[in-house]
Structure formats: C-alpha cells, structure tokens
C-alpha cells in the first residue's frame, strides 16, 4: 500500500510517500503500526484531532476499513482558499 504524507506530517516523518506492507484492518490500526516504528512517526501522529486521512484520494475517517485500499494519505486539516 502506498502511504502519502503532506504538510507538517511530511516534514515530521521526513518523506512524502513510502510503500508499507501491512495487514492493518483499519486506518487507526495502520496509525498504531506506524507510531510503533519510530519516534518521528509517533510525533507526527501524536495529535489525532489534527489528523485527516484520504483513502484512494477520497476524504475518509480514521475508523474506516483498509480492505482494497491502494493509497492512504495523511495530512493536517486543509487550509485552501
């Protein structure tokens, strides 16, 4: 699965995207896996209230299932306009 990071999540984790092999059933489970990897992930995902997720380029929620998903993107609340 491709995992993408944007804005300060990208900066804290230190890369814009990576390939992740996982059997995590939900977004939240994937986050827990990533947080357990290294401090930079734990820091990036420390504030779940400021975390948004898109699954295959559609906004979704942290409790959404990952079955069949090819691209997961994590980012802070959007600030367009």
């Amino acid at each position: 699965m491709e995992v993408l990071y944007f804005a300060w999540l990208r900066e804290r984790i230190g890369l814009p995207r990576e390939r992740v092999e996982t059997t995590a059933p939900t977004v939240m489970a994937l986050i827990e896996e990533l947080k357990a990897r290294e401090d930079r992930y734990a820091l990036a995902f420390s504030d779940l209230k400021s975390l948004r997720v898109a699954l295959d380029q559609k906004l979704s929620s942290l409790d959404a299932p990952l079955a069949g998903v090819r691209e997961v993107a994590f980012f802070p609340p959007m600030t367009g306009g």
């Binding site: 380029q57 906004l59 959007m78 367009g80």
Partner: protein, 146 residues
C-alpha cells in the same frame, strides 16, 4: 465549467471578463479572489502544497455540489500552488446565475468548502522561519451553514 489547479499566476480581471462574456443568460456574476496577505510586512512568501492526485477531483466534487444546490449558469475555480509572493493572487472562484442571491450563496459555499475540504496546505515563510497556517475552528464551523 473551468476548474484549474495551477502553479502559474493568472489575471483575475481577464478571467472575470471571459467568464461574464460566456454567460449570456445570467444576470448576476459573483467573484471571490484570495490574495496573499502581509499584515505586518514580515511575510516573505507563502508556499502552497497540494495533493496532485486528489485536488482536481475534490474541486470538481465541490463544484458539482454547488451546481446541484443552486441554479447556476456556470462556475469557475482557479487555485494556485507553489511559492507566492505577498500580494499575489492565490485563487479565485466565480459563479453566474439568473439571480444574485444564488450567485452569492454558491460562491460563499464554494469558498467554505475549498477552504476546508480541498487538499491544500499553506505555509508562511517569514524572516524568522516558516509556519504552517493552522486551520481555524470558524472555518470548519462555516460548513455547517450549508
């Protein structure tokens, strides 16, 4: 309907004129233009990051919602990304309708959704470093109007 996500600068006046000229049946055109604001003179640039695969589709979805809710002759959205100088145009929307209230409401709706639901992130580069612009609670709350 023209929806453009682009790095290049654009001419809001020329866009407004072209848009108005193409909507003969409409009596009302509303435009919104967002500029890089430099309140205290310390801003050097704004950098706008976006999610290339998702941005265009997210904007198209927001525009389609506006066209479902209001009777619109046409919709225009232009949003830039990349590095912008103070005073530069960040983005614009325009709506055309037979009636002014529909054009106003649809433009305000588009702005509220582009602000909080289109995948853009702004970073302000100042003399003392860079700061990601924080989303405001009031922007999230503004969505509840619709």
């Amino acid at each position: 309907m023209r929806l453009s996500v682009q790095e290049a600068a654009f001419d809001a006046g020329a866009e407004l004129n072209a848009f108005s000229a193409s909507v003969a049946g409409a009596g009302a055109v509303v435009s919104f233009t967002g500029l890089v604001r430099d309140s205290d003179g310390s801003l050097q640039a704004m950098e706008i990051e976006h999610y290339p695969g998702m941005t265009q589709a997210a904007i198209a979805d927001i525009a389609a919602q506006a066209q479902t809710r209001w009777s619109l002759t046409d919709v225009l959205v232009i949003h830039r990304y990349g590095r912008l100088e103070p005073g530069a145009l960040i983005m614009m929307v325009a709506t055309a309708s037979r009636h002014r209230i529909a054009a106003f409401e649809a433009a305000a709706f588009l702005m509220d959704y582009l602000k909080s639901r289109a995948p853009f992130w702004k970073k302000e580069i100042g003399r003392d470093g860079a700061t990601w612009v924080a989303a405001k609670d009031e922007d999230e709350a503004a969505l509840e109007r619709w």
